[in-house]
């Protein structure tokens, strides 16, 4: 391919600082970013939201999971510039909203975490699963969280905690 004739990306040139505007944990946010910066660096370094972790920075471990327009996203594989206009939710936002308070409580009660480094990402994945499926089988839970590496627990307790949350939500719904 002849590079000279290739269409240039519309908005940025390499190295140029660009401003992005997006919704972060429900509030309007702006940041001056370099085009090469990934979303987690911006969340951690610009906004001080250190609950999102970097375990590999190559899209395998899932410690960097965030919600972008309602979808679970590998924050380390997303350029910050892609967040322009998007709605971004981190573990801090999800925690403050109370939306996963029962899931968090189940993780604590069942000790479904040890070092805690994978936990915010794991909670994101579990939250998305429980929104889609109110009665997931254990095998399905295991399959769904297989994009999140936990080196400490061996996963059994995490599966228990997610399963228990699903059950409790069903019971609460049925009781109404």
């Amino acid at each position: 391919m002849d590079n000279s004739s290739a269409a240039e990306p519309a908005c940025v040139e390499a190295g140029a600082i660009t401003e992005i505007a997006f919704t972060l944990n429900g509030a309007a946010a702006r940041a001056q970013i370099a085009p090469r910066q990934h979303m987690v660096d911006v969340l951690r370094q610009v906004f001080g939201l250190t609950g999102t972790h970097l375990g590999c920075e190559h899209g395998v471990c899932g410690a960097c999971h965030i919600l972008v327009d309602g979808h679970v996203v590998r924050g380390c594989l997303m350029l910050a510039i892609q967040a322009n206009g998007a709605e971004v939710v981190t573990i801090e936002g999800l925690n403050a909203s109370g939306a996963i308070a029962d899931l968090q409580e189940a993780f604590v009660r069942r000790n479904a975490l040890q070092c805690g480094f994978c936990t915010p990402g794991m909670l994101m994945t579990a939250h998305a699963l429980l929104q889609r499926d109110c009665a997931p089988q254990r095998a399905h839970i295991r399959e769904t969280i297989s994009g999140n590496i936990c080196r400490c627990t061996g996963y059994h307790a995490i599966v228990d905690a997610i399963e228990a949350t699903a059950r409790e939500r069903r019971e609460a719904r049925d009781a109404k």
């Binding site: 609950g51 999102t52 920075e57 190559h58 925690n95 069942r110 839970i141 307790a157």
Partner: protein, 784 residues
């Protein structure tokens, strides 16, 4: 003592877990320091090479760059160090530099450090460094290192043999000559690495005015690092403070002193500006300690009654380029031999223990250290012997288990045993898993071409290791654990412990012990750990010591503080202190009535001590320490079982079920204990099926998380955990260690299960991980 809220033996939720689920963990990289600069390293691209030229001019003037350090720039601040073991003078290691000045001996060794305003700028500048290298012959495999005339791994080495040692007990040759059954097996344990999800991270600040170096570091043993940094930089230890905040997994790999981290503290001292280094995942794979690369030949002898009469084991490990500082790299091979056959009366043992240097990442501690190898070798040999003798593997184990000794005694390998419960663990396990039914099911499935395997794996494990391991070797690693308790205003208790916690829940376990003794709730105890500036001296986290030793110190300190509280209360209440007790954060009298709250008592001591009719008022602060002295460590035991299915066409292994029966003595928090075991088991399954550092031409070719396969949830089974509880008599608390039990036994259970499944083919796996390729190769080779 009845009717009290009890915390020992209860699955009380961990306080730290609440922070983590809220995204409020505080790991080293989360800590903000004013005016911090960031470090990135140029690492050696070659397994072995001489550095001819390094041109850092362009890097030095790149945007944001503050300074560039080469090996020659750093050697004057932090001289190369040498790993030495005083009792093993033949174990020599080359001097290791913080940054390579001349000769690099593994791919990944740090060569140049660039300090910049941001990590990205530091990485950009690294790209501008022009280095030329003269490649030297490299030694990769264990076999290549052993060849006569092999090139030295480092030019300072006379030989690549790092250790060659033999142990013998009993008449091994006679036993084999007279044996009814002799079986042998070769084992290749693949090179692995710990892969903590949080990479190694360090933030170092030097205050030139006060001369104080403060280091935040993701590490297991802050006091060890304090000693090392002080010695390297010529500071007094009192002027070095090492703080381990939340640590995102450690597993032994965060026990060592790494060259790049030595460079970071040296740069902080030189620059007078805070500097931070967080390893990225790719450099973690080529700089974190590796482990386990061990080749073993083993054989076992049985007499006509199916009794073991001898075990012989020849172990050789790959140490990488340097013996890991400061604990050395010998632990893996040493414990692989010392623990071999330990659960059984084996009569006679001969072991050869060797280690060789290689142009690869140095190998060091990874959870279990050698014990998983000892267990896997022993258990596989026992299974093969059972098959050869026509005996059931469970029955052969039961026949040969070491009985619990009346008084502490030594195994053939020299392991000191206090009490054992192997028969009880085996009975509990077989009953729970319904061993006999599984054997029947296995037989009927085999007729339908379904290959299932049942693997058993018994182990004796060393936990809570005392001062005898490192002390006599001249290695400044503390085995002592301390606890300082004080009664605060409001009736709350502050606990400063030398024990550190990387997610195990040890700190919460200690709080449960203290709460039980002082009649308060764990949430009223403020726990301080992982900070040499605030806690008593001690070992931290290694060799499953947190609850076993640190818990004992906490128990003793609690009793001492309780004594102080009750003596003050007795004086105030005009009562005999012996008639008083603590419950519900209050002093309770003979009748069971609460006389005064701990909060009131704490305030009287602070503000109205004139009203206390005592000559001397106790300080409401107690310090106790504990180190095992009567025994070298607290040995423990257990047994595990795996049920696997091998697909003979694909060579894949599915783990269907997994069971563990473990004896860690008195259990403080059953849930935390179970989760330690489960996590360890999965690390062993990962080792058995997936994990390996693959080297080609001295290059690690799978050094990413996409290529180095870790166990994922979908591939792992549910794990049942059972307990037999035999409290140790060495301590008042009675707890033994449990942090490594899972991984110590599970690798062996996987070896025996997979080879049991392969029985119809006559094939046996000999290399770990058991990749589909290896399994299909072995099946093909076994075909007549």
């Amino acid at each position: 003592m009845q009717n009290e809220a009890r915390f020992i033996g209860v699955s009380h939720p961990r306080q730290a877990a609440r922070r983590h689920v809220a995204g409020r963990g505080r790991y080293t990289d989360d800590i903000v320091a004013a005016h911090v600069a960031h470090i990135a390293f140029l690492r050696s691209p070659y397994a072995h090479a001489r550095c001819v030229t390094i041109n850092c001019e362009a890097a030095g003037v790149a945007p944001g760059v503050i300074a560039v350090f080469r090996g020659c720039d750093i050697a004057g601040v932090s001289r190369p160090w040498t790993t030495r073991l005083e009792r093993m003078p033949s174990h020599h290691s080359a001097p290791q530099p913080a940054l390579v000045a001349d000769e690099t001996c593994w791919q990944g060794e740090a060569v140049v450090a660039v300090v910049a305003e941001t990590r990205a700028q530091a990485e950009d500048a690294i790209e501008l460094i022009e280095a030329t290298w003269e490649e030297l012959p490299a030694v990769e495999s264990i076999a290549a290192a052993l060849i006569d005339g092999a090139p030295p791994v480092h030019t300072a080495l006379k030989s690549n043999v790092a250790l060659d040692h033999t142990i013998a007990e009993g008449d091994v040759d006679a036993a084999f000559a007279q044996a009814q059954t002799v079986v042998s097996h070769s084992f290749a344990f693949g090179r692995q690495t710990g892969v903590s999800l949080e990479p190694r991270s360090i933030l170092a600040e030097f205050d030139a005015r006060s001369g104080i170096l403060t280091v935040h570091q993701s590490h297991q043993v802050p006091f060890q690092m304090r000693e090392i940094y002080a010695e390297q930089l010529g500071l007094s230890a009192e002027n070095v403070r090492v703080i381990a905040p939340d640590v995102g997994g450690a597993f032994g790999l965060k026990l060592h002193a790494y060259a790049d981290e030595m460079a970071v503290v040296a740069i902080a001292r030189t620059l007078g500006r805070p500097v931070k280094f967080v390893a990225d995942r790719l450099e973690s794979f080529i700089s974190d300690a590796h482990a386990r690369e061990v080749d073993v030949d083993g054989r076992i002898a049985l007499d006509a009654d199916g009794r073991i009469t001898a075990l012989e084991i020849d172990v050789i490990g790959g140490f990488g380029a340097y013996s890991c500082y400061p604990r050395s790299s010998v632990g893996e091979v040493l414990q692989a031999v010392q623990l071999a056959g330990a659960p059984y009366h084996i009569g006679a043992l001969r072991g050869r223990i060797r280690g060789v240097y290689q142009n690869k990442v140095p190998t060091g501690a990874y959870r279990g250290v050698g014990q998983p190898i000892a267990c896997a070798v022993t258990e596989q040999l026992i299974d093969l012997a059972a098959r050869a003798a026509g005996l059931d593997p469970a029955a052969l184990r039961a026949r040969n288990f070491r009985a619990s000794p009346a008084s502490p005694s030594k195994t053939e390998g020299g392991v000191v045993i206090e009490t054992l419960s192997l028969q009880e663990c085996l009975s509990a396990l077989c009953r729970h898993m319904d061993y006999d039914a599984l054997r029947r099911e296995q037989a009927s499935l085999r007729k339908r071409g379904i290959w299932r395997g049942i693997g058993l794996s018994a182990f004796i494990e060393i936990t809570g290791v005392g001062p005898g391991l490192y002390g006599p070797q001249g290695v400044k690693v503390s085995a002592y654990e301390g606890c300082r308790l004080s009664l605060q205003r409001g009736g709350k208790v502050r606990c400063a412990t030398s024990v550190t916690d990387q997610g195990q829940g040890t700190i919460d376990g200690l709080a449960q012990v203290i709460a039980e003794e002082l009649g308060i709730v764990p949430t009223d105890i403020h726990m301080v750990a992982g900070d040499t500036g605030q806690t008593p001296y001690g070992g931290g986290a290694w060799a499953s010591r947190g609850i076993a030793l640190g818990g004992e110190a906490a128990l003793r300190a609690s009793r001492a503080l309780r004594g102080q509280i009750l003596s003050i209360a007795g004086a105030l209440l005009q009562a005999d202190a012996a008639d008083l007790s603590l419950r519900g954060a209050a002093v309770i009298g003979k009748t069971g009535a609460a006389h005064m709250s701990l909060a009131e008592l704490a305030d009287i001591v602070r503000f109205r001590s004139d009203t206390i009719p005592l000559q001397e008022i106790p300080p409401l602060e107690a310090f106790e320490q504990f180190v095992p002295l009567a025994l070298p460590y607290l040995a423990t035991n257990g047994i595990q079982a795996a049920l696997v299915e091998v697909d003979p066409g694909l060579g894949t292994v599915r783990v269907l079920r997994f069971w563990v029966a473990d004896d860690c003595g008195r259990i403080i928090n059953p849930q935390l204990v179970d989760e330690q075991i489960r996590g360890g088991v999965v690390q062993g399954i990962g080792a058995a099926l997936f994990e390996q550092c693959i080297y080609q031409n001295g290059q690690l070719v799978n050094g990413s998380l996409a290529d180095y396969q870790l166990p994922l949830a979908s591939e792992m089974p549910d794990i049942d955990v059972l307990h037999v509880s035999t409290p140790t008599r060495e301590t008042l608390l009675g707890a033994r260690g449990v942090g490594e039990a899972g991984v110590v036994g599970s690798l062996g259970a996987m070896w025996t299960a997979v080879n049991d499944a392969l029985t119809p083919s006559g094939a046996r796996v000999t290399r770990q991980p058991f990749t589909p390729e290896h399994i299909l190769d072995q099946i093909a080779a076994a075909k007549p």
